[in-house]
């Protein structure tokens, strides 16, 4: 356990050191991107990994918050109003999503969230008098909380890091709380949970709201990071990218979505410098991970590492071959 805490402290220190260790703004910005997408992926993971509910409309939730913030700022309101309005818009949209989609679970849940996400995208794209259509809305300034400017890459990174750490802590508390256990219960045995007296729908609803809150926070970070929002950020591709982060890293783990976000953002930025075919690669990674490493990179590599460790210790080839083939409990079942 102490090893764990030491590793955690080292990781946090390393994250704090990023702007000092890296002088080039470009890489600090990529680090900010990783952290803000990680917040999004952590929110999606609550639903996908712990609730067993795969959403393909989550970009609509963060997008609603982004648009609300951008709209309020463009209308001349201050940052406090914009952020509060964005959180409210994100949560309201989430409540609407949850009310409609939680009638179903499994595959139907995917279809309904996909359709709902497309509605939000359609509104952003077509409701030109509010959203300025395909041209999007620009945001003139980043906020300056307590007089600290976020205009520079380093300043924004620090703010994003604080939000990210709070999000991770909130997720850890949520997951280890009795409510988190109840949520995992509704994922694995909804009927038994019902028989035990849990209101399955209500448990899922509040998990959805928490997930939506994190998505809205990520949406606010996104709009301040880019200082711009357009319908592209709400497209199905964006929701799928989020899902790829969760699944590639490892759904139902705390570290998985963060690793997944880092993987996707790095591949996207590095690869796009060489080839323009990012969507093809996204699809290919998706297919490969689903087919060959369905439990995700973090649990997958932990499994491989443990198998190798045991094999090396026992010095018995047969033991290495009989590595545990069972999937970890994190894998959501339809």
């Amino acid at each position: 356990m102490t090893v764990r805490y030491a590793l955690l402290a080292a990781a946090i220190l390393a994250l704090i050191a990023v702007p000092y260790a890296i002088t080039e703004q470009y890489y600090v910005n990529i680090a900010s991107q990783i952290l803000l997408y990680a917040v999004f992926a952590l929110g999606l993971n609550i639903l996908v990994g712990y609730g067993g509910l795969v959403s393909l409309g989550h970009a609509g939730l963060s997008g609603a918050a982004s648009y609300a913030a951008a709209y309020l700022l463009a209308a001349g309101h201050g940052h406090v109003v914009a952020i509060a309005g964005a959180l409210a818009a994100g949560l309201l949209t989430t409540a609407g999503f949850a009310a409609l989609s939680l009638r179903a679970s499994g595959i139907s849940f995917i279809m309904i969230t996909l359709a709902l996400g497309e509605i939000i995208w359609g509104l952003a794209y077509r409701w030109i008098s509010i959203t300025n259509g395909d041209n999007g809305i620009s945001v003139a300034t980043r906020p300056a909380p307590f007089g600290l400017s976020l205009a520079s890459a380093d300043g924004f990174y620090d703010a994003t890091l604080i939000v990210f750490l709070i999000a991770v802590a909130a997720c850890a508390i949520f997951v280890h709380s009795p409510f988190g256990a109840a949520l995992a219960g509704t994922r694995d045995q909804p009927r038994r949970m019902n028989a035990l007296g849990f209101h399955v729908w209500m448990v899922r609803f509040w998990a959805f709201m928490f997930s939506g809150l994190l998505s809205a926070v990520a949406g606010i970070l996104f709009v301040y990071y880019n200082e711009f929002i357009s319908p592209q950020a709400l497209a199905l591709t964006a929701s799928a990218e989020g899902l790829l982060m969760v699944i590639s890293g490892g759904a139902g783990t705390l570290l998985g979505p963060v690793v997944g976000a880092a993987l996707v953002v790095i591949v996207k930025n590095v690869v796009s410098a060489y080839i323009a075919r990012w969507n093809f690669l996204l699809g290919a990674i998706f297919v490969l991970i689903v087919v060959f490493m369905p439990e995700g990179l973090v649990p997958g590599s932990v499994r491989l590492f443990r198998a190798a460790w045991r094999g090396a210790r026992r010095r018995k080839p047969a033991a290495a071959a009989a590595a545990p083939a069972s999937m970890p409990a994190g894998e959501p079942k339809p």
């Binding site: 795969v54 393909l56 409609l100 009638r103 179903a104 499994g106 595959i107 139907s108 995917i110 279809m111 309904i112 996909l114 359709a115 709902l116 497309e118 509605i119 359609g122 509104l123 794209y125 077509r126 409701w127 030109i128 008098s129 497209a235 199905l236 591709t237 799928a240 899902l243 699944i247 075919r277 969507n279 093809f280 996204l282 699809g283 290919a284 990674i285 998706f286 297919v287 689903v290 087919v291 369905p294 959501p332 079942k333 339809p334």
Partner: protein
């Protein structure tokens, strides 16, 4: 008056196209219990392949109908191959299958962008159907009437296939109860391939038939897929009648919405879906709750 008549005909035409697209989607969902998220891609690939046969870049040009049929066959083979090579490996894992179709849809979209470029390609109306039909003061494009006819012919043919043939009976059995169907000796996994190919082929055919109306452009897949989703949620899964009625309803809402409330057309389109989900979750004609 003429405006409303024209809008009505356009709505029915679009509904017919949607039926060709969503009938396969609904059958695949009914049988395999997965939404095939490549269905929009199949529609787009069919249209792109068809335009290639028309353009003569391959050294020969085909007649519009021949191009449509050959494109549909090719897309059907692609669909069957995808089922055999990818989805079959993940048999029983529906979530993984859905994610694979999503991944493939991105790959296909990017490959199409690579192969055919980013500019929209317009498709010429087939010879002999470029004219107009006069009905009193209104003038209707002949091609749109023809599309309605094609959709009706396909609806009847599909209905006959499902209700009157041995294959249809096996598909119906698979939709109703796959395990029992297996027990009585129906090779359900073979049906998966057949139905997947059939659905993909229909979608590809619809793409080419829709070409003269919609033209072909990157993003066509993402425009059509949600429409198929709405049709199936409205009509109920695995039901041919459901797809037909759902398609007509969506066709009307889409066209009237675009004409009357252009800014909110997309939003209005999803309202009936929301209503159905709240009031009748199994869809208008579906047997199973979504």
């Amino acid at each position: 008056m003429t405006f409303w008549l024209l809008l009505t005909v356009n709505s029915i035409t679009f509904g017919g196209l949607l039926f060709l697209l969503s009938a396969g989607f609904s059958l695949i969902f009914g049988l395999m219990r997965i939404p095939n998220l490549t269905h929009g891609s199949m529609f787009m690939v069919g249209a792109y392949l068809g335009t290639t046969f028309l353009s003569g870049t391959l050294g020969f040009t085909l007649d519009f109908w021949a191009a449509a049929v050959i494109a549909a066959l090719e897309v059907a083979i692609l669909g069957a191959l995808m089922e055999r090579l990818l989805l079959r490996r993940l048999a029983g894992q529906q979530l993984a299958q859905v994610l694979v179709t999503l991944g493939v849809s991105f790959m296909v979209a990017d490959l199409c962008l690579m192969g055919w470029g980013g500019d929209p390609i317009s498709v010429a109306t087939p010879a002999g159907l470029g004219g107009f039909v006069r009905a009193g003061p209104a003038v209707f494009p002949l091609y749109r009437i023809a599309v309605i006819g094609i959709a009706v012919v396909f609806a009847v043919a599909l209905w006959l296939m499902l209700e009157r043939t041995r294959l249809g009976a096996m598909i119906r059995a698979g939709v109703d109860d796959p395990q029992m169907a297996r027990v009585v000796g129906i090779r359900v996994s073979q049906l998966f391939t057949i139905v997947f190919g059939l659905g993909a082929g229909l979608a590809g055919f619809a793409g080419m038939i829709g070409g003269p109306i919609l033209s072909v452009y990157p993003g066509l897949d993402q425009d059509m897929l949600p429409l198929a989703l709405v049709v199936v949620i409205l009509g109920g899964t695995g039901s041919l009648l459901g797809s037909f009625v759902g398609s007509i309803i969506v066709g009307f809402i889409y066209n009237f919405g675009q004409a009357l409330l252009p800014e909110l057309a997309y939003f209005v389109l999803f309202l009936p879906m929301v209503l159905v989900l709240v009031l009748r979750p199994q869809g208008l004609f579906g047997g199973q709750v979504l």
